[in-house]
Amino acid sequence: MIKSVRIIGIGGQGVIKAGIILAKAIFLKGLNVVQTQTYGAEVRGGAVNADIIFVTEKGEEIYDLNIGSFDFFLIMANRGLERHESFLKDNTIVIFPQSLVPEIKFSDHPSIKKYVILDKEILRQLEGPFSLNMSYLGAFAKIYSDLEIELLKKTIKSESREKYLKDNLKALELGFSNIRELF
């Protein structure tokens, strides 16, 4: 079966980096995965999204790269969010940060499942804000249990710069434990 994740944020937040790490972790399971990204001409501050399309069974192929809807949305910022509303479908799981909840109008769709990541709490425990993107992957692993958090850890270890490694791993763990369903 085809599964899809879209990570939304602004340039500089590590949206694409999170996308790469998630794709590589899935890739380590031996599954086919395609990771793409969309960004504007800006280096920082523009709307960015990273898409990960993967299969759940070995040997399955990915033909459709312009899929009409996503199973998961990991939202890191509000900018350009309205552009993505048409990609929601029934049972889409949306994870957004606690600090943005009041601003998000993303929630009118009748049957999406909403989760909130306690980003303020996570940030309080991290040394800097740079690793926050990794906490979204932890939160994703909590909800999508087919992806072992150990695979994410392994990927983070191979993909991170030395000075961020510790914080990245910590953010992953914190994301895993700081996610709440929103009713």
Partner: protein
């Protein structure tokens, strides 16, 4: 004497990276990787023995230059950051005449700037590889979005009479494989080869399986002094620094390179250069599936061929007998092969591409006994399977 010394430098340092097969250390080890299409292309170039890259950064081809700027020096090759695309194309032509397997990478706007020198490369029969990672134009258009709008620029962009070899990969794996093939064809035919990649592939991470180096066939050019092994129309190539008196000119010339404006000389040169490609049987590659019982066929290439193939599978599940054809070589256009693939029952031909209808014109030229429908996608978006399925169903009047 001074000249000799100067050119010996190039002879020693610009020779293709031949020893890679014994030296795994400088190569990406055989195995399974998740990499960008651009990186797969760059690594393919190293496997093919590319020893010089000259280029100017442009989205979405920048990653090729960025990666090679690190990798080529590791492999005893050279990376040149040029001042623009005109200089980039000139540098790789010069490097090729000094013995290098040379390459550049660009996108639509840079490709336009290179056209004058590409014409020079056709006339001087210079083996070079030009990677064009297409983005959505015209002009700066949607610079970070993909498209397939250089279909004709790759064939007719340069001035004068020539035939082109243009390859079109549809996956990260093929970005690797076809870069090697581009170098091989360019060395075998002593001509520029264009790898026309989609921005969507260049900027997509996907599985790349690197095979064992000894399983990869690598070709080298036929040089002056080599025993003649190639067909007559492919001339041996001289190399600066090897003692030959070489004249390389874009003006009309004899086989020896000497200038000659005589009508019969120039016409013979042009016909010979064109016939190298038009008479070749090993350039065109085409993928075809489910044609035996097909009532309709979807034709596509590059990234659009992926949803197109997915649509074929989905339509067949619904009982609609659709076949699939993918051009792996865009030019020379597979006229004869395409005609042979068409069976009499095929009455609809859909051509799926990310432009306002380019390859469809060639298909119209070749296929006369079926209705040809252009399925186009603009706006920097890859066509979806659903949109292709809808178009086919609407045309074949069997909506479910």
């Amino acid at each position: 004497m001074e000249y000799q010394t100067f050119f010996s430098f190039f002879r020693i340092y610009l020779s293709p990276i031949k020893k890679y097969q014994e030296d795994y250390g400088i190569l990406m080890k055989p195995g399974r990787y998740l990499v960008l299409g651009d990186i797969a292309c760059a690594e393919g170039a190293i496997y093919a023995g590319c020893s010089l890259f000259a280029g100017y950064p442009i989205t979405p081809a920048t990653e090729i230059a960025e990666y090679l700027s690190r990798r080529l020096p590791e492999c005893n090759g050279y990376f040149l950051q040029m001042e623009d695309e005109i200089a980039s194309s000139a540098a790789i032509i010069g490097a090729s005449w000094a013995g290098a397997k040379a390459m550049t990478a660009t996108s639509g706007p840079g490709f336009s700037l290179m056209q004058e020198n590409i014409s020079y490369a056709y006339h001087t029969e210079t083996p070079i590889v030009i990677v064009v990672v297409q983005r959505s134009g015209p002009s700066t258009g949607q610079a970070t979005y993909p498209a397939q709008q250089e279909f004709y620029q790759a064939r007719y962009g340069a001035h004068g009479d020539y035939e082109s070899i243009v390859l079109s990969p549809n996956s990260v794996q093929e970005a690797f494989d076809m870069t090697i093939r581009a170098f091989n064809l360019s060395e075998m035919y002593r001509l520029p080869v264009i790898l026309l990649m989609d921005g969507a592939i260049g900027h997509m991470r996907e599985e790349l399986i690197i095979p064992k180096p000894e399983t990869i066939q690598i070709e080298y050019r036929y040089k002056l002094g080599d025993p003649q092994t190639r067909e007559n129309q492919i001339l041996p190539m001289g190399q600066f620094g090897e003692g030959h008196k070489l004249l390389v000119t874009g003006s009309a010339h004899e086989i020896s390179g000497k200038r000659n404006y005589a009508p019969e000389v120039h016409s013979a040169t042009i016909r010979r250069i064109c016939s190298k490609i038009s008479n070749a049987s090993d350039i065109i590659e085409i993928e075809s599936r489910y044609l035996d019982d097909a009532k309709a066929v979807i034709i596509s290439y590059g990234i659009s061929a992926r949803p197109a193939y997915g649509a074929v599978l989905a339509l067949r599940k619904k009982g609609i007998k659709v076949g699939f054809i993918r051009f792996k070589t865009l030019w020379p256009f597979p006229d004869i092969i395409l005609q042979k693939l068409m069976n009499e029952d095929i009455n609809h031909v859909f051509v799926v591409e990310m432009n306002n209808g380019m390859a469809v014109r060639e298909v119209q030229r070749v296929i006369k006994n079926a209705k040809i429908i252009s399925v186009t996608q603009l706006g920097g978006v890859i066509p979806s399977m659903e949109s292709i399925i809808k178009k086919v169903e609407a045309q074949m009047e069997c909506k479910n």
